[in-house]
């Protein structure tokens, strides 16, 4: 494709060889960058199987660290909490996000531009600012609530879930809106001409067509929630442990092959989710 026929334009040959030399340089750069991107991941995975108890050198193969992981009640509990938060927040933010996307794509209303800005803000705002704002807000409103009713609320799984919903809604909206953009509105009109009511039209025409977009948004929300550390760290409470926060606490103390093992499992989950989302997008 790059090699234009040399017979027609003989003077191009010089440039062509220079251009392919350029492509060679670009290729070398790409290989080096890929090594840079993947070497740490390979090392991490390899050292989850090492016998070395410091987890930074290769001294032989073992599955011992994974066995110990399964026996660690604390880590297992944290993993279950993380899964619970990710599932709950994904379900809620997918429903809310899809509704919002439908409203934004189908209707024109006053304040639409403003709401659009509000929707994009959680994506671009520094995560730490959103995290500390949520912490301040929960402490502030719980304080007022206690003053007014004597009811004492605590930060924990509930506040983490609320926070995760708040920061994943926008991502769901972006993905679902993209799938609504290519939507042929005449299909809905045809369904209604044939006597379907609003709900039937939505259930049998609109929903199946935008479902890949909704699933894509849900997978993104799920991954973001599962992997999130900063917002989780700020909005969790004493006694509630979540996986990224737990891993962070242990990493701060020392590198251990056990953390290598749990990190490898987390990587595995993420990679599976990318595959799933790509697969769904291909089918679209």
């Amino acid at each position: 494709m790059l090699d234009t026929p040399t017979t027609r334009k003989p003077y191009v040959t010089g440039m062509d060889s220079r251009r392919s030399a350029g492509m060679l340089a670009l290729g070398a750069h790409t290989i080096l960058t890929m090594v840079f991107l993947y070497a740490p991941i390979v090392v991490l995975v390899a050292f989850s199987f090492t016998r070395d108890s410091f987890g930074v050198r290769w001294t032989g193969f073992t599955l011992d660290w994974y066995r110990r992981l399964l026996a660690d009640q604390r880590l297992l509990g944290a993993a279950l909490n993380t899964l619970y938060v990710a599932l709950t927040s994904t379900i809620v933010s997918t429903i809310i996000g899809t509704m919002t996307a439908l409203a934004m794509e189908r209707y024109h209303f006053r304040g639409r531009t403003g709401f659009d800005a509000l929707l994009y803000l959680p994506i671009v705002i520094p995560e730490i600012v959103m995290a500390l704002a949520l912490l301040a807000f929960f402490a502030f409103s719980f304080g007022i609530l206690e003053l007014l009713s004597g009811l004492r609320l605590q930060m924990g799984l509930g506040t983490v879930t609320i926070a995760h919903i708040a920061f994943t809604i926008s991502f769901v909206v972006v993905v679902v809106r993209a799938s609504l953009k290519g939507f042929d509105m005449r299909l809905e009109e045809a369904a209604q001409d044939l006597g379907a009511n609003e709900w039937q039209t939505f259930r049998h025409i609109t929903l199946p067509l935008i479902l890949p977009g909704i699933i894509g948004g849900a997978l993104l929300a799920f991954t973001l929630s599962l992997d999130d550390f900063i917002i989780t760290f700020f909005t969790t409470g004493p006694g509630t442990s979540l996986l990224p926060v737990e891993v962070y606490g242990q990493v701060k103390r020392a590198i251990t092959p056990k953390i290598n093992a749990i990190s490898t499992l987390m990587l595995l989950v993420s990679i599976t989710l990318v595959f799933l989302s790509q697969f769904i997008q291909r089918r679209r």
Binding site: M23, L26, L132, I169, F229, L267
Partner: protein, 300 residues
């Protein structure tokens, strides 16, 4: 017949009005949950931060509601805070620049590959994009540690071991590593829309490769560069995980101070932390507006 249309017309418009009302009702129903959630759990918390930034920090960490501007004063006078801002912005600029220099050629190469290779390479960029930031930073701790791979190689060469981390260099590596995919993907998207025959046209008109790149390709892919830069710059300036894990406790970045003021320091100081966050957002907004002005002016 004339009478019939007369009588049926108001009835039809009443139906239309009813439909319009139900239409508006449906819009409200669709809009309400998202609006409610984002106003209550996103916008309102930011307002609370603004409120806190004008409050007085009490001796035990409890906030006292006396209006003061002292928090903002502290930020601009104490070198600890001024330095943290400068260090973080500098790290952000450096990381963005290096990611751009490494990411643009990478995106260019991927775009020019045949479809099958393109898919594979793009997928290889997507995987780190989707994986846990914490885990990927941790991987560098293993590599750079005192008995780690790089030091083993250094020792095998007969050289003395080097303390590679914690250090500011290690922080920079971690930042570049963590953010590179965020630069590559938007640039790839804009290169994908770029018509490469324009380069041939430029060559036919006598432009050499450098000139064709600077005058044709670069301006036309500027939106991707701008988007990528913003996606890298914002999280880099506000990060605290990378500098916490790879930088040790020696140097303070903005994010580390924010984290400490809110969750760790004894006692915590939320009003000062809030003021710090507000100034941070203001600095970011100005920086991004400036950046967009510069990049779009080049476009003209």
């Amino acid at each position: 017949m004339a009478l019939e249309t007369l009588t049926s017309e108001p009835r039809e418009s009443r139906v239309a009005a009813l439909l319009r009302r139900s239409e508006r009702f449906r819009l409200g129903l669709l809009l309400f949950p998202g609006l409610f959630w984002l106003l209550l759990f996103f916008a309102l918390p930011l307002v609370v931060v603004v409120l806190y930034s004008f409050a007085t920090p009490g001796p035990t960490g409890r906030v006292e509601w006396h209006f003061t501007l002292a928090n903002y004063g502290t930020l601009f006078t104490e070198s600890l805070y001024v330095n943290a801002y400068l260090r973080s912005i500098w790290a952000g600029v450096l990381t963005t620049l290096i990611c751009l220099l490494a990411g643009y050629p990478l995106a260019l190469y991927i775009v020019r590959r045949p479809p099958r290779w393109r898919t594979v390479l793009l997928f290889l960029i997507l995987i780190p994009f989707w994986t846990n930031f914490l885990v990927r930073t941790y991987a560098w701790m293993i590599i750079l540690s005192n008995n780690g791979i790089i030091n083993s190689i250094i020792q095998a060469l007969g050289l003395p071991r080097v303390a590679l981390y914690p250090s500011e260099g290690a922080v920079l590596i971690g930042l570049i590593y963590g953010n590179l995919p965020f630069m590559v993907l938007p640039i790839f998207a804009s290169l994908d829309r770029f018509d490469f025959t324009l380069l041939e046209a430029a060559a036919d008109l006598g432009a050499d490769q450098t000139r064709a790149f600077l005058r044709v390709m670069l301006p036309l892919t500027m939106p991707g560069i701008a988007a990528g830069s913003v996606l890298v710059f914002i999280p880099t300036v506000g990060q605290f995980v990378v500098s916490d894990l790879l930088g040790g406790a020696k140097v303070d970045y903005l994010g580390n101070l924010l984290q400490r003021l809110f969750t760790r320091s004894n006692p915590p100081n939320w009003p000062l932390g809030s003021a710090m966050a507000i100034v941070f957002m203001a600095v970011l907004t100005v920086a991004i507006l400036l950046y967009f002005r510069i990049t779009t002016e080049q476009d003209r």
